[in-house]
């Protein structure tokens, strides 16, 4: 390339105050290959751009360097201008003589010399630039939603309502997630089930939604617009096509004393069961671990009583493959099981709180089930130990959360609000009862949240004690809570009938394994990482994968639903085009020289490098080389720095371009 144009911007006075722009232009004219150089007050202005376009035409420029502000500011502007002038946009480079020069130096001579050097470097670079064509990849307009809680349901419905196919995968036998377990929701105290179950029914009835419950993601291949997902449908032992959901099997099942997980083990369920009466789909599943038929072969009652003959003991796990273009991850959360002290983890547990040993020390979700009208007690609040109505209940906030020394330093965000809600629900059901709350701070940002919290104290007479709990122990039929009241500066002991712990919110078990399958990043707690905390809060760094709900960090229902709709909007933006256009800064393999050591594959964080077989005309395998899938490559270039023979090169940042810059030193 021997016809290069250099355009030097004064940026008003921002550059020209410290840099002698005319002198830089004069120096540029002396550089080999520069056929045109000029300076102008505002290159980015309309007349500035016109000047550039004219010069490209008049001087038949083959490459241009705009010496102005940071490329982060105006690279796009000038590349567009170059394109409008008929030049490939990637033949335009910016020399940053403002942020990196005029704004940071005060000596005019030095700054001018540096600006000249910067221009020279970019002139040499642009000489080695190649025309690049944006990469287009076809888009499969079908979305995968992982997780059937409120986040997954919301995203699925939004996308499906927009007319796109959705595949919803849920690990449990029913969708609904945690929201289906809740009693009433803050700050309006409307019934969770009442708002949740219709959404669940919408999902199952939606013609655009394919629902896979009792299923897990086995593997993920492909890239944005073109994912291939293998889903493992676990054996339900009930043929979904035949089952009418009549429920006879469940009634007749002789195994009735299996703790009900949905009710936090407060009640029981049979071996063939639906997790809760409003489950979607309303098809039972056989718990093979507890079913007598599967344990010793001696039963088979459910099969005998099933009219449609839906019970199938022979059913096997099944792998199915779905093609999708985008993925929304909405795997939700679990509550910190404080009795747990996982090996090798920083999590230390709270043995001193007696959770798991003292029956009347429960967590928040168990309290939700006690308070729920559809729960095991029909909404009556009783003590798990003896069924008596508790008259003094102590709620403890921040159990696990914000406790660096215990291994978790983040705030679980929803506990302040749901504890306030719990005190209200309790007061509404046990009028003569007294609720105490141990708290560190009350965090109530959110519409009507603070009002709600104040109502708990002022109207519902909950006693809030600012302080930490040090120990909880059984004393007769009471549970003694020892803590401090730092407002008064005294130690407090409360003999309670029931203790409710607001334990921390953690990502679901297996969140890390799923992230590895998806190729997305996660933090040290296994919460998934968004691409940018502020500007890309629902996108993963891996293109085509979006986040919704508590899997990304603790959040309440309104936030979860908002994020789910946001993720759905992102998916729909992606689906609005048939072809996906990407900046062509991707790595390419020189197949002639690649020897297939696959070091590039080992260092690629995106799984963009594949093995490619080179065959002769007879179809005999000659050798295996690396292949970079341009749809997946994100353009970091780590592969090229790793490749010993540089047989993989990153377009836009080739060795030739870099070396050319260094030659100017």
């Amino acid at each position: 390339m021997s016809r290069i144009g250099v355009f030097i911007c004064h940026c008003g006075e921002n550059i020209s105050r410290t840099v002698d722009v005319e002198q830089v232009a004069q120096a540029a004219r002396q550089m080999v290959g520069v056929t045109y150089a000029c300076d102008y007050k505002y290159m980015c202005s309309d007349p500035g751009q016109t000047l550039l376009k004219k010069a490209v035409a008049e001087h038949r420029l083959e490459g241009i360097v705009v010496a102005a502000c940071s490329p982060r500011m105006h690279e796009k502007t000038f590349r567009n201008a170059a394109q409008a002038a008929g030049l490939n946009p990637f033949l335009c480079e910016m020399a940053n003589i403002r942020e990196h020069c005029s704004w940071v130096h005060d000596d005019r001579v030095e700054a001018t010399a540096k600006a000249t050097d910067i221009v020279h470097m970019l002139v040499e670079r642009v000489r080695k630039n190649k025309k690049l064509i944006p990469i287009t990849v076809p888009v499969t307009k079908r979305a995968l939603i992982i997780g059937g809680g409120i986040a997954g349901i919301q995203a699925a419905l939004d996308i499906a309502d927009c007319g796109h196919q959705v595949v919803l995968v849920e690990r449990e036998p029913s969708i609904g997630g945690h929201m289906a377990m809740l009693s009433e929701t803050f700050p309006t105290l409307d019934c969770s089930q009442c708002i949740m179950t219709p959404r669940m029914v919408d999902v199952v009835n939606h013609p655009k939604i394919t629902l896979h419950t009792y299923s897990e993601i086995e593997s993920v291949d492909g890239y944005i617009g073109n994912f291939s997902i293998t889903i493992k449908k676990k054996a339900r032992s009930v043929d979904m096509a035949k089952c009418t959901g009549c429920g006879v099997c469940m009634e007749k099942c002789p195994q009735k004393k299996i703790p009900n997980e949905f009710d936090k083990n407060l009640g029981f369920r049979p071996a063939i069961y639906v997790p809760f009466p409003q489950a979607v789909p309303n098809t039972p599943v056989i718990d093979r671990e507890h079913c007598t038929k599967f344990i010793n072969g001696k039963c088979g009652v459910c099969q005998k009583v099933c009219g449609p003959g839906a019970v199938d003991y022979e059913q096997q796990d099944e792998l199915i493959v779905e093609q999708v273009g985008a993925i929304v991850v909405a795997t939700g959360f679990k509550l910190y099981d404080i009795t747990e002290k996982p090996k090798g983890s920083a999590i230390k547990g709270y043995g001193e709180f007696g959770h798991g040993k003292i029956p009347d020390v429960i967590d928040g979700l168990t309290f939700e089930r006690l308070a729920s009208a559809s729960g095991p007690t029909g909404g009556k609040i009783i003590r798990p130990s003896d069924g008596k109505e508790p008259k003094q209940v102590v709620f403890v906030q921040c159990v696990g959360s914000r406790a660096r020394e215990k291994g978790i330093s983040y705030c679980s965000k929803v506990c302040c609000m749901y504890t306030a809600k719990h005190t209200m629900l309790y007061k509404h059901k046990v009028h003569d009862g007294q609720a105490y709350v141990f708290f560190m701070d009350a965090r109530t940002p959110g519409k009507s949240y603070d009002e709600f919290w104040r109502r708990a104290i002022e109207e519902e007479e909950a006693v809030y004690i600012r302080g930490m709990v040090s120990r909880v122990y059984q004393k007769g039929d009471k549970v003694v809570v020892m803590g401090s009241d730092i407002a008064v500066g005294v130690q407090v002991e409360i003999e309670a009938d029931l203790v409710v712990l607001a334990t921390a919110i953690q990502p679901r078990d297996g969140a890390d394994t799923l992230a590895q399958k998806l190729g997305i990043s996660y933090d040290k707690y296994n919460f998934y990482s968004e691409a940018h905390a502020k500007l890309r809060p629902v996108e993963c760094a891996t293109a085509g994968i979006y986040l919704a709900g508590a899997c990304q960090g603790p959040k309440d229902i309104p936030d979860t639903v908002s994020q789910a709709s946001a993720a759905a909007a992102k998916v729909m933006t992606l689906f609005s085009k048939d072809q996906l256009e990407r900046e062509p800064i991707v790595a390419r393999v020189n197949e002639k020289f690649c020897v297939g050591c696959l070091a590039c594959k080992k260092v690629c964080a995106y799984g963009a490098v594949e093995e490619k077989e080179i065959r002769d005309r007879q179809g005999n395998l000659i050798r295996v080389v690396a292949y970079v899938n341009p749809g997946v490559c994100s353009g970091c270039g780590t592969c090229q720095a790793t490749c010993p023979s540089k047989s993989v090169e990153l377009d836009g940042y080739t060795d030739e371009q870099v070396m050319a810059m260094l030659e100017t030193l």
């Binding site: 020289f593 696959l598 010993p644 047989s647």
Partner: protein, 314 residues
């Protein structure tokens, strides 16, 4: 530069096991070829010079009688299995005679997808040591004629080979001369080291024997042969030589199996293995990485740990 230690008395090393190994290699090679388990065997045969041994590729069971193992079997035969030697690979399935140090190279090559374990039959040879460069091949193996790498060998027995032949004699304690040299260099100032290496590299004539015998220099197109852009000047003169040897050491870091062939073949006596050893030592200290006898999925420079040392980064 010589070893700093006191001159050690010359000790003869018992190589009676080599005759046993020769017999076993012959019968195994013959069997493999007769039973058509492999199409060719890469081994050593005697050369014209008395006591010499040179690499050979045999395809006929009758040729198996030519195979030998002796202290003159200095070559690392794993290079014949790399993609750089397409004509050898084209012969079909290969068996290869490998000392412990050679097996490390084979393991490294497998880790770099150059071939699969099942594609190669490895005839491992128990080895007490081989000759140093420049030793007349018919000389006995002694503490004076043994190669530097063998003085510090930790892989006398090639564990993991398909068959291990020969037997290990009682080995004398030998001073680790290379280690001592490395320590001596480490103790120098950077300026002194620069002068040392400058002198060494200035001698380099860029015959590229170091590259060509290296099992890991199997690139189709060496970066240092490239003209556009020219990463390293190709002319044999001080600046290009310095660049070449730095780039080579860096490209081998975390891959080199320590066979020291580069140093053995250097006609200009440049102690190239010092660079490789230094890199290996650093990789061990930094990332607990060592070249081993079994393939590793990723090397130290194709993997990372979030907790890696970064004390050098501000």
């Amino acid at each position: 530069m010589k070893s700093t230690g006191k001159p050690e008395p010359t000790v003869t090393i018992d190589t009676s096991g080599y005759a046993v190994a020769t017999e076993e290699i012959r019968s195994e090679a013959k069997r493999l070829l007769l039973e058509k388990i492999v199409d060719a065997v890469v081994g050593y045969q005697s050369g014209r010079r008395k006591g010499s041994a040179v690499p050979v590729i045999i395809t006929d069971p009758a040729q198996a009688e030519q195979l030998v193992f002796s202290p003159a079997c200095v070559n690392n035969l794993s290079i014949y299995l790399t993609k750089a030697k397409k004509e050898i690979r084209a012969k079909g399935k290969l068996a290869v005679v490998a000392k412990g140090c050679d097996l490390r190279a084979l393991a490294g090559l497998m880790g770099e997808s150059q071939f699969k374990r099942e594609e190669v039959v490895i005839i491992g040879v128990t080895c007490a040591g081989v000759h140093s460069a420049g030793v007349q091949p018919n000389e006995p193996l002694t503490s004076a004629t043994i190669a530097k790498k063998c003085r510090e060998c930790s892989v006398h027995i090639p564990e993991g080979a398909d068959l291990i032949v020969g037997k290990l004699p009682l080995l004398p304690d030998l001073t680790p001369t290379e280690k001592e040299l490395l320590e001596k260099l480490d103790a120098m100032t950077p300026g002194e080291r620069w002068e040392y290496w400058k002198e060494q590299f200035t001698r380099c004539i860029r015959c590229l024997a170091c590259r060509q015998v290296c099992p890991f220099c199997y690139c189709e197109q060496c970066l240092c042969d490239r003209g556009r852009p020219q990463a390293v000047d190709t002319s044999p003169r001080p600046s290009g030589n310095m660049g070449w040897h730095i780039v080579r050491a860096m490209h081998l870091a975390g891959r080199c199996s320590g066979c020291a062939e580069c140093e053995r073949v250097c006609p200009m006596d440049i102690p190239l293995n010092l660079l490789n050893r230094k890199m290996a030592q650093e990789l061990k200290e930094l990332y607990q990485y060592e070249a081993g006898l079994t393939p590793q999925e990723k090397g130290p420079l194709t993997s990372y740990d979030e907790k890696d040392d970064q004390s050098f980064i501000k």
